[in-house]
């Protein structure tokens, strides 16, 4: 545990425990929060995050352990007591009242009144000031909350937290209801809050968010804090995964299966180039093999994948599948030869978000289930349901609208699409972007099984560890060139970065 005490701790929780009907939810959690920091609490579903929050916000009373607030031993007897101390909580389910105005929501429970008569003008003015402080002065305090977007409701919820004399705001998975642009705005607001000395406890299971917004991390697993107060910048992702899942990264990634010596070359890329992006790319992938492209953003790795697929038209070189050359710049020809791509931007490049799951799974193959151009819904749906079961898609409803699924399950839809099609080559661009850590191991295992089924797989990821952990062979890409080709056991993250740095310097 890292403890460097330049600033006094605002909240100091030691070894708290809590059981419900004999089932231990918290078995000993330590948490130290300083004024003005974003303290992330990380853990898989069911690890005890929600119980911890409810204990801190006065909903539950701990069975054991101590809580110090601003250096004084404290019991947080009720939600009102928590607010009195200066601890406000924003729950995941937005707890605003749709029928009331912004100002009425903000002052709900502590209305600005004299002798029971509401001072509406005063409330509206104060509410306006709070909204302005949160960068949303354009939302009128008189607006009915039901008309606001989820993101703006969250801002109202935050303004309510600030309407008390708040020193600590607990945010329970605030990004769950937001899109990426709204998340950026949320982060901006959080930074402004912490700059003014307010501490934030940020609950999430999305590692990339924690990297962006967090100062320190406490990791909870099975009701225990496995690490408390780690500096975000000094903790590698692999370490966080180990703390969260109890498995080493070596165990997160499935065991490699040696590729048979007589396994045929399926994908052959020769002297491939795209003007202004990359040139002279040569590699082969054998059946059952996973090859990774490692490099920084802008190195050309995604462009290489898209050119192999024909989504961009190569200016030099050629791509062959089992010895047959593909037509350059033709996705049809690549797909017909048995290549499938899972694109980098799943939502904008991969899915029909407002269509049901089964239509997304059969997007490449629905014609196969048709007779004379007339669709056969039943056969099509059967094929999709088969994959939904095989890939353990959750929920397993083929008619569910795709937008409502988690990132990990949306990724599975793309893999299912190519399983129905029957591919020989799979190109996977950022297969775990936006997928939470628990689901990642599942996706990794799935990719390995696809390889074992005889596919030649090429994977691109901005997380070098992921490429090294998953691939059999790694191509290090920098400045649009292949800088080195290595067995992934012969090189580590530093080795890749060294090559990239040297490559760009040359």
């Amino acid at each position: 545990m890292i403890e460097d005490d330049h600033s006094p701790s605002l909240l100091d929780v030691r070894q708290i425990t809590k059981s419900f009907a004999g089932v231990a939810a918290l078995r000993g959690v330590d948490l130290t929060v300083r004024a003005g920091e974003v303290h992330c609490v990380l853990g898989q579903n069911g690890a005890g995050k929600s119980t911890l929050i409810k204990t801190l916000s006065g909903v539950h009373q701990p069975d054991g352990g101590t809580i110090h607030w601003q250096g004084e031993p404290t019991t947080i007897a009720s939600p009102v007591a928590a607010l009195g101390l200066g601890i406000a909580t924003m729950y995941q389910e937005l707890d605003v009242v749709d029928g009331l105005t912004v100002a009425e929501n903000i002052f709900l429970g502590h209305e600005n009144a004299r002798g029971g008569v509401l001072r509406v003008a005063g409330s509206n003015r104060l509410a306006g000031e709070l909204m302005t402080r949160l960068g949303h002065g354009s939302i009128s305090p008189k607006t009915e909350v039901g008309t606001l977007s989820a993101a703006n409701k969250q801002i109202v919820s935050m303004a309510r937290a600030l309407s008390h004399d708040t020193k600590l705001i607990i945010m329970d998975e605030p990004s769950a209801v937001l899109d990426s642009e709204e998340v950026k705005n949320l982060f901006r607001v959080v930074r402004e809050l912490t700059a003014s000395g307010i501490a934030v406890i940020y609950i999430s299971h999305r590692l990339e968010e924690i990297r962006q917004i967090g100062d320190r991390i406490t990791v909870i697993k099975d009701g225990r804090s496995t690490a408390s107060g780690l500096a975000v910048s000094a903790t590698p992702t692999a370490e966080l995964i180990r703390l969260m899942t109890g498995r080493d990264v070596a165990n997160v990634f499935p065991a490699r299966v040696p590729v048979a010596a007589d396994s045929p070359v399926v994908l052959q890329v020769e002297d491939l180039g795209l003007r202004g992006e990359f040139s002279g790319v040569d590699f082969t992938v054998r059946a059952g093999e996973i090859v990774g492209l490692a490099g920084l953003v802008g190195s050309g790795r995604s462009e290489i994948l898209e050119t192999v697929y024909g989504a961009r038209k190569a200016s030099t070189g050629r791509v062959s599948v089992s010895g047959t050359a593909l037509r350059a710049g033709s996705v049809d020809s690549a797909v017909a030869a048995g290549i499938g791509l899972s694109p980098e931007e799943r939502k904008s490049q991969g899915l029909l978000l407002d269509e049901p799951v089964f239509k997304n799974i059969t997007l490449s193959t629905f014609g196969r289930f048709a007779v004379g151009g007339v669709l056969n819904d039943r056969r099509e749906r059967d094929a999709a349901v088969e994959q939904i079961a095989a890939l353990e898609l959750r929920p397993d409803d083929p008619d569910r609208i795709t937008r409502t699924l988690s990132g990990g399950n949306q990724q599975k839809i793309l893999l299912a699409r190519w399983l129905v099609h029957g591919t020989r080559v799979l190109l996977l661009d950022e297969p775990t972007r936006g997928v939470d850590v628990g689901a990642r191991a599942e996706i990794y295992a799935l990719i390995r099984r696809l390889a074992a089924a005889g596919n030649a797989i090429v994977i691109v990821s901005s997380e070098i560890e992921e490429v090294l952990g998953l691939a059999d062979r790694v191509l290090v890409i920098g400045d649009g060139r292949v800088l080195a080709t290595k067995d992934s056991t012969d090189i580590d993250e530093h080795g890749v970065l060294d090559l990239v740095m040297k490559g760009s310097a040359a």
Binding site: G46, Q349, L352, S364, L375, R424
Partner: protein, 348 residues
């Protein structure tokens, strides 16, 4: 390899995370939240118009004859709107349909009048009208798909160009078609219903099947929903876009034949501003202007609403200026309602 399907055995070791205890709405609720609910709104709007018509014009409005008049009035713009529905569902737009229809009436009537005046030749005239429409659509489609020209501009150019061409060819004169075979066909009744209406019904039924039950329809919706995803899934997006504009041109050609039958005249001024009526009917019907969702039933109802509105106003001797104001209001209200439904659908 095309028929082989690899399956992956379920992972033996899987995390026991919650299997989505998502609340499944009742089938009726599901249906109402979908297209049926939207169409019900249109049916109610149409019913209200009929009630207003009955109350203000009585028997004159409610007679079977008048009802058939309303539908016959709707049938030409209806056929055009059905082609437009496909284009808009795929995220495109076709502004040229009105003037392509005009051009098709001119070319077809000239053929009939000048080249082949025999009584049996009217089938040739029909074919020529269809070909002219499809050819214009082909040009639109190629310019849009392979020339990467925005659909709005490409079809705007066709709107202007086709109108000009029609004027050049006809020398701004009107050709009268007096081919009795043709006229007796288009003016006939079948089971008491005029042939023009039958054409509309058949086109609508075929279009419904095409959009909802065929690979063509699925591709159309996929391209409108996410063009990039459709392309990366291996669909031939460009070729399909060409087909869509050819289809739109074909419906303009069919409409041209119906117009020749109704007016007996081929002229370059036929179809002026029809594109706007068609777009309004499609969007009021519930097809998303940005693509990804299309409804033939909605389009038919949209066309009927406008046609009934016109009839009610005419029966009450109100001017076309008043009609236009009412049309404008209806379009705005319909789109506002659609947006409310759309945002509610997303938040639930």
């Amino acid at each position: 390899m095309s028929e082989q399907r690899s399956t992956v055995a379920p992972a033996t070791e899987s995390s026991p995370r919650g299997g989505g205890a998502a609340s499944t709405p009742s089938p009726l609720k599901r249906l109402m939240a979908g297209s049926a609910g939207r169409n019900l709104g249109l049916v109610i709007a149409l019913a209200l118009l009929v009630i207003v018509g009955g109350a203000t014009a009585g028997e004159r409005f409610l007679s079977i004859d008048n009802m058939l008049t309303i539908i016959r009035f709707a049938s030409i713009i209806g056929v055009i709107s059905i082609g437009m529905t496909f284009v808009i569902t795929a995220g495109g737009i076709d502004l040229s349909v009105g003037s392509v229809m005009g051009l098709a009436t001119v070319v077809a009537s000239l053929t009939a009048v000048q080249l082949a005046a025999t009584q049996t030749s009217w089938v040739l005239m029909v074919l020529i009208a269809l070909l002219v429409g499809m050819a214009a659509g082909l040009v639109n489609g190629i310019v849009i798909a392979y020339g990467n020209v925005v659909a709005f501009m490409a079809t705007l150019a066709m709107l202007v160009g086709a109108r000009g061409l029609a004027e050049l060819i006809s020398n701004r004169s009107t050709q009268i078609v007096n081919n009795t075979g043709f006229l007796s066909f288009t003016r006939a009744d079948f089971i008491g219903v005029p042939v023009l209406i039958w054409i509309f019904v058949l086109v609508a039924a075929a279009a419904w099947f095409l959009l909802n039950r065929t690979t063509f329809g699925r591709r159309t919706v996929a391209i409108g929903g996410n063009r990039e995803a459709a392309k990366l899934a291996g669909l031939n997006v460009k070729r399909h876009i060409v087909y869509l504009y050819v289809l739109s041109g074909l419906t303009a050609g069919i409409a041209a034949i119906m117009m020749l039958g109704r007016t007996t005249a081929g002229t370059s001024t036929h179809g002026t501003l029809y594109e706007l009526d068609a777009i309004a009917a499609v969007v009021v019907g519930g097809t998303l202007l940005i693509g990804g969702r299309g409804t033939i039933v909605g389009t038919v109802l949209g066309v009927l609403i406008f046609s009934t509105l016109t009839n009610v106003f005419t029966q009450n001797n109100l001017s076309t200026s008043v009609q236009n104001v009412a049309k404008g209001v209806i379009i705005v209200v319909a789109v506002l309602l659609q947006q409310r439904f759309a945002s509610r659908g997303k938040s639930s």
